[in-house]
């Protein structure tokens, strides 16, 4: 039972354009969402997060949008740069104000930025 789904295994985007990575979830109790980036032979690196009380969070070139009614979130990267080529994971958690670090992760989307 996949509670967090990233339906696109890969995505190819031209350098300078917008990259949009999507994530769907099924558990309505999730209230905190995170995006991580992973390069080969390295551990995941935290990118950006959003709590369920917001519908948008922005950090530089990265913006995460949350649509609670659709149980959908997306990560926008503008403009895309070659260093953004990596695998991106969406993760979710219940009860973010509690002492709980049980993240549920999607399978990841491999983003390829073409020069």
């Amino acid at each position: 039972d996949q509670q967090v789904k990233q339906n696109s295994p890969s995505l190819s985007v031209q350098e300078g354009r917008i990259s949009i990575l999507n994530c769907d979830y099924t558990n309505s109790m999730f209230d905190y969402f995170l995006w991580y980036k992973k390069y080969p032979a390295e551990g995941p690196t935290f990118l950006i997060s959003i709590s369920s009380i917001k519908d948008k969070n922005e950090d530089g070139r990265f913006t995460v949008f949350l649509n609670k009614s659709a149980k959908h979130l997306s990560l926008h990267i503008v403009p895309s740069q070659p260093g953004d080529s990596a695998v991106y994971f969406c993760a979710a958690s219940e009860g973010f104000m509690d002492s709980n670090y049980q993240l549920i992760w999607g399978a990841g989307t491999k983003l390829i930025i073409k020069p």
Partner: protein
């Protein structure tokens, strides 16, 4: 400052054997979490330890166990290895328990069970 370190980097074991994986968190971090990442999937939560106590456990059999030491380093132990235990094992550390604290990952230990 040193990041999260894990040892060994790679490991090959035979079915039925036991394995111990080690993790050193970032200095000052009291929480350590362990994840299993099977090829083609996202990380799956195994354990979280905070101040030497188990504070969370994922859906893994009792063959998996862990502990945290007074210096906050941690060990993950897996008994009676199965072929399906072949995976990348990731350790992450954070300052506190809540998910709002940023989690820092080590590079992982690649375990192959033959």
């Amino acid at each position: 400052d040193a990041g999260v370190t894990q040892s060994p980097t790679h490991l090959i074991k035979t079915r039925g054997q036991h394995v111990t994986l080690r993790c050193s968190p970032i200095s000052g971090h009291k929480s350590v979490s362990w994840y299993q990442q099977v090829l083609g999937q996202g990380p799956q939560f195994i354990f979280q330890y905070y101040e030497k106590e188990e504070r969370g456990r994922g859906n893994f059999p009792d063959r998996f166990s862990a502990r945290q030491f007074p210096n906050y380093s941690s060990e993950l132990n897996v008994n009676a290895l199965l072929l399906g235990d072949s995976a990348l094992y990731l350790c992450a550390s954070s300052v506190g328990l809540a998910v709002t604290y940023e989690q820092y990952f080590g590079p992982g230990t690649r375990l192959t069970v033959t």
